[in-house]
């Protein structure tokens, strides 16, 4: 450290001419917003409507708001912790500092799997969208989706490889267009601008809760789809200029945006499409917002929502590559995974090896696995991650009370959000068990096996002393 001078242009410790090569701090709150909302917004364009199939339109709305409550707790807790643990790896790094190595290893794996699977699911979706456009424009034969699926993954991996600023600026633009498209569709079909085409009363009559309250419970599984991935904002922690300000600001603005987008999406789609059609995401409304635009009779809206769907899909895959690679990189840096993953590109300042390593994995799942299984694997990994968060914040507040570490954001009403989050996670686990019990048990079995492997083998390679570099005081009680 003696040959480092942070005021020097060449020996600032963070460049190829200095002693350290680190990630670049170039992002602002808007990029954090784009990362979080970008990953999620595809869930508004497709996927959430399976909740309608599980329990009817009202069940989907109840699931939308309860899942919204769950994710508001996630966003508040994340904002507080990550404004203090301003480091790549997000929840993995939080777990490492606050709970311990085994939890950190598991959380790190949840993150890598959740984002890589979601990236694969998005690439499959993009391939499908290209085939729809091809058939709409008169292409007679069946389009080979594979080159488009591969191109999406390769292009976004290349973008991520070249630098984080361009990657997330790209996300900012396409996410803003996709969000704007939902607002315009709402204004155009609700009667605020021009004639309205919605008829909630007629569509809902006699179908208020077709499967009763158990249908509402089952809908919670897909209610997550409205917001799944907002917690990904924390992965930008080591690349934002001002972590204490940008992370809470971007994350909380993100969850507010999503609450608006989710409610408007439900309102528009359930007011235009019959619930039986809307709830069938395979043979019915694959992309419900796009279907609503088609029923509006406006060519402009059809194009806008068509691009919105594609942009939301690309933004999600892009954010997922960013987040999965940061989690993998952070685990490599601490030797939880091989140290090879902990490399940073000296010119582009990106975790280039982690980015490249995850490309073939995403390709294998995108080309070889069924979409619903890929999505379920992603949801379950995410859900396991949310279950860790209440434990994390309770221990964080206990070990480092408010007066010991200055936070960029202090979330209110502690421990009510933590208890609410834990309760909602329990309900959602039960909802997932109703539909995908085998996968849930298989997945938990998988994490138990890898935990044993970590405990008995991998832990000996971990950088035990060097992994804690935050200038924090000693935890209370130690």
């Amino acid at each position: 450290m003696a040959d480092v001078d942070i005021t020097s242009q060449t020996m600032d410790g963070m460049g190829p001419h200095g002693t350290r090569v680190g990630l670049l701090r170039v992002l602002g709150p808007a990029h954090v917003w784009a990362l979080g909302v970008g990953i999620v917004l595809v869930g508004e364009y497709m996927g959430w409507n399976f909740a309608v199939g599980k329990g009817g339109a009202y069940a989907a709305l109840i699931a939308c708001w309860f899942a919204g409550l769950l994710y508001t707790c996630v966003a508040m807790i994340d904002s507080e912790v990550t404004s203090t643990v301003a480091s790549a790896g997000g929840q993995y790094t939080q777990a490492k500092h606050i709970i311990g190595p085994l939890m950190a290893f598991n959380v790190g794996l949840y993150l890598v799997f959740a984002y890589t699977m979601l990236e694969a699911a998005n690439a499959i979706t993009a391939g499908y969208l290209f085939s729809v456009v091809a058939s709409m424009t008169g292409h007679a034969a069946e389009l080979d989706q594979r080159p488009f699926i591969i191109l999406v993954i390769m292009f976004l991996a290349w973008l991520n490889y070249r630098g984080v600023l361009a990657t997330l600026t790209f996300n900012l633009v396409i996410t803003a267009i996709a969000f704007g498209a939902i607002i315009i569709l709402f204004l155009s079909t609700s009667g605020i601008l021009g004639g309205g085409i919605m008829d909630h009363a007629a569509l809902f009559e006699g179908h208020e809760l077709p499967y009763g309250w158990i249908g509402v419970l089952a809908a919670m599984h897909f209610g997550l789809w409205y917001y799944l991935g907002i917690e990904g904002t924390t992965q930008a922690a080591e690349e934002v200029r001002s972590p204490a300000r940008a992370l809470p600001f971007g994350t909380l603005a993100g969850i507010m945006t999503l609450l608006i987008a989710a409610t408007l999406t439900w309102y528009v789609c359930s007011g235009i499409l019959p619930w039986e059609y809307l709830g069938d995401g395979v043979d019915g409304a694959v992309a419900p917002l796009f279907d609503a635009a088609r029923l509006s009779g406006s060519t402009g809206l059809v194009w806008l929502l068509g691009f919105g769907t594609l942009f939301a899909t690309l933004a999600s895959a892009n954010g997922c590559i960013n987040d999965a690679s940061r989690a993998c990189f952070a685990m490599g840096r601490d030797k939880y995974l091989p140290g090879w993953f902990g490399a940073v590109h000296p010119r582009h300042r990106t975790p280039y090896r982690a980015i490249i390593f995850l490309v073939p994995i995403a390709l294998i799942f995108a080309l070889g696995a069924p979409l619903d299984q890929v999505i379920t694997f992603s949801i379950l990994s995410g859900l396991l991650g949310y279950t860790f968060m209440p434990l994390n914040i309770i221990l964080f507040r206990r070990k480092w009370p408010l007066e010991t570490i200055k936070r960029g954001y202090e979330h209110p009403f502690h421990p009510i959000p933590a208890i609410t989050l834990l309760t909602l996670c329990g309900i959602t686990f039960f909802a997932v068990f109703l539909g995908y019990g085998t996968q849930l048990v298989a997945m938990i079995g998988f994490y138990i096996v890898v935990s044993l492997w970590f405990h008995f083998w991998r832990y000996r390679f971990v950088n035990r002393g060097a992994q804690f570099t935050m200038p924090w005081p000693k935890p209370r009680g130690y």
Partner: protein, 61 residues
């Protein structure tokens, strides 16, 4: 052969080019820089340096 057939070929070709770019750059980077420089990033580096910098300033002051 309609437009979409050409686009399929284009997507294959562009994917191969992007993959090749990353592969070549990866190998070139790994052979140009020593491994300990590439893996020299440390968590909380800037914060730790800033703390040290402040401590040094205070010491000089």
């Amino acid at each position: 052969m309609d437009l979409w057939n050409w686009l399929e070929y284009g997507a294959w070709g562009l994917s191969a080019l992007l993959a090749l770019y990353m592969l070549v750059d990866w190998l070139r980077t790994d052979s140009t820089y020593p491994e300990d420089v590439l893996t020299s990033s440390r968590e909380g580096e800037i914060e730790a340096l800033a703390e040290q910098h402040k401590a040094r300033e205070a010491h000089h002051g």
